[in-house]
Assembly symmetry: C2
C-alpha cells in the first residue's frame, strides 16, 4: 500500500464531522471546543536506525528532535503548545546517565515554547523508540486546506541545511562539520512563534511544516486544494553549504511553508519587520494541478521525490 493508498484507506475510518475539523491530511487533529477555541492534538514517534542514527545523535539531541518534530506540527496549525506525554520503548533497563541527557533535551525544548510534560510511560520493545503526544490550542487554526489560485507561496527560512548535514556526516567526522549544519539537523527550531502570529493576524490561507522536503510538502498543499504551484528558482532560499537539490527535496527543515493572498502582502511585510524576520516569497499557486520550476523564460515541470503519486 502506497502512502496515497494508505491515506485513502484510512479516510474510510475517520470521523470528520463537527466538532472535528477534517483531519486526514492535517499536521494536527483539530477539535472545535467553542467559537474561539480549538484543541490541537498530535503525536510523533522516532524509531532508532529509521528516524535517527546513534552514530551522530546524542541522547540530548534525540530529546530535542522528539520535541521539535511534534512542536513543528503544532506550529504548522498556528497553535500554542500546552502539554505533552512521553512513551519510551526500550529492550534494556533504563539508565540514569542517558535518561538524564534525553530528558534535558526534551524538557528544555518543550519549555522554550511553553509546553509542559505531564506524564510518561515505558514499554518493553525489541527496538528503541520514543513517542510524544502533544496538545495545544489556537483561536484560529491554519489548515492545509485553504490555498487558492493566485496566492503567493512563502517559506520561513533558508532550506536544505538539514539534508546537507546528512550528506556531510557520511564523509566528515561530526566535530569537523560546520556548527550551523549540525544545528540545522540536530537542533532545528520549530516555528511556534511564527505560526501563532500568522494565526493571530489571519494572514495565511494554508500552512504546512516542511518535514519531507519543500516539493513534497508543497505538493501536499496543492493536492489538498486541487491546485498546482509555480516556484521561482532564483527566489528559493538555499541554506549555507546546501544545494538547490537539498533545498527542494531535503527533509527535516522544519521551516513553515504558507500561502498568502496578494491583498495581505503588505501586512505580512509589517509582521516580518515586527518579528525582525525575512520571509521568502518563492512562487505562486496556479490552476493547473502541476508543479513548475521557472527560471527567466524557462518553465519546467518538476516532481517531488519519494511520493508514490508520481511513480
Amino acid at each position: 500500500m502506497t502512502e496515497k493508498e494508505w491515506i485513502h484507506f484510512l479516510k474510510k475510518y475517520l470521523f470528520e464531522e463537527f466538532p472535528v475539523l477534517k483531519s486526514k491530511n492535517e499536521d494536527c487533529a483539530v477539535i472545535k471546543l467553542s467559537e474561539k477555541e480549538y484543541l490541537l492534538l498530535t503525536t510523533d514517534a522516532l524509531v532508532e536506525d529509521i528516524h535517527f542514527s546513534w552514530e551522530y545523535t546524542s541522547f540530548y539531541d534525540l530529546g530535542v528532535k522528539l520535541a521539535t518534530s511534534n512542536l513543528s506540527d503544532l506550529a504548522a496549525t498556528g497553535g500554542s503548545p500546552d502539554f505533552a506525554l512521553l512513551t519510551l520503548g526500550s529492550s534494556k533497563p533504563l539508565e540514569k546517565f542517558w535518561l538524564e541527557s534525553f530528558m534535558e533535551g526534551l524538557i528544555s525544548t518543550l519549555e522554550k515554547y511553553g509546553a509542559k510534560l505531564i506524564g510518561g510511560d515505558t514499554v518493553k520493545s525489541p527496538v528503541f523508540f520514543v513517542n510524544l503526544v502533544l496538545i495545544g490550542k489556537t483561536e484560529n487554526p491554519i489548515l492545509r486546506k485553504g490555498a487558492q489560485v493566485g496566492d503567493y507561496v512563502f517559506v520561513s527560512r533558508p532550506l536544505g541545511e538539514s539534508a546537507a548535514f546528512l550528506k556531510e556526516i557520511k564523509r566528515t567526522p561530526l566535530e569537523k562539520i560546520p556548527e550551523h549544519l549540525k544545528r540545522a539537523h540536530l537542533h532545528p527550531e520549530p516555528e511556534i512563534q511564527l505560526g501563532i502570529t500568522l494565526s493571530y493576524y489571519n494572514l495565511a490561507t494554508s500552512m504546512i511544516d516542511i518535514s519531507d522536503g519543500l516539493l513534497l510538502d508543497l505538493w501536499r498543499i496543492c493536492e489538498e486544494n486541487e491546485v498546482g504551484a509555480e516556484l521561482w528558482k532564483e527566489r528559493i532560499p538555499i541554506g549555507l553549504n546546501a544545494t538547490l537539490e537539498e533545498a527542494l527535496s531535503g527533509g527535516e527543515d522544519y521551516a513553515l511553508l504558507f500561502t498568502v493572498k496578494e491583498e495581505n502582502l503588505e501586512k505580512l511585510e509589517k509582521i516580518a519587520q515586527k518579528l525582525n524576520r525575512t520571509f521568502f516569497m518563492i512562487g505562486k499557486i496556479i490552476h493547473e494541478k502541476e508543479l513548475y520550476l521557472s527560471e527567466k523564460n524557462l518553465k519546467r515541470k518538476i516532481y517531488p521525490l519519494g511520493f508514490n503519486h508520481f511513480q
Copy 2:
C-alpha cells in the same frame, strides 16, 4: 532502573501545577479546563512479541486490544472517551487484508464506547507496533489518590480468566479453549459505563483498572495514599477456570478496582441494581502499609509479584 526508580526519576521533570492534576501515577493525565470540565489524555503502545503474540492474536483482536487498553485507562478515571489518534509502526508495506481486520477491531471497539478515530499515521519500524492516543472528559475525575483507612475495596467482576487463557494456550489449541477464556483475554471489556456512573454519583474515593494484577494494582492505590489493605480471601471473585493465584496476580483483566466509604455502601448497592451488576467487596483499606490476605482467623502478609519494591 526499576519501575519505582523510573517513576521517582520522571517526577523531577513533570509539571504538576494547576491546571494539571498530579499525574505521575494516574492512568490518565488530567487537565482542568473549567470548574466542571476535565480533559483526560492517555496513550498506550502494543509491541509485537512483547504485549501480544501472533500465535493466538488475530489482527482484529489486536485492534480490539489496543482500543481496550486505552479505554480502560479512561474508565479508571471516570471519563467518557471522545477522540483517538492511531500510529502504526511496521517494517513491511501495509497490506489491505490485515489492515481491514485490524481497523474493524479498533473502530468497532472505540465506537461501542463513543470514541471516534480522528487521525492516523504510519512510521517505518523494524518491529511491528501500534500506538493509540485517546482523549476524553469528565466532570469529576476519580484518581488513584483518595482512598482512606476504613474504605471498602471493590472489584467490578471476577478476575483471572485472562491469565488462565495464557496458561491454557501453552498446552491447548486455540479452537479448543473455552469461549469465555478467549473473550477474557482477547476481547475484554473496558468498564467505561461503570467509571462514568461512579464518577457521576461520586461514589469512589479512588480507582484504578486492573491491568497488572489485583495485588499489584491495589498496592499502587495503597502507595499513592500511604495506606495498606486487607483482602478477604473468600470474597475474591475468581473467574471460571481460573485459580486464586491468577485472580490475585494475573494481568489484563481490565476490571475496575475502587474504594468506597462505608456511608456510601447503600448507594452503591442501588447503583448495582440499576446497572444490573454485582460488585465484589473484597477487603478494606487499613492504616498499616502492608497487604494482608485473611481467611477465617488466619491473616497473612502477601506481596504483589513483579513489583521491585518488594524484592
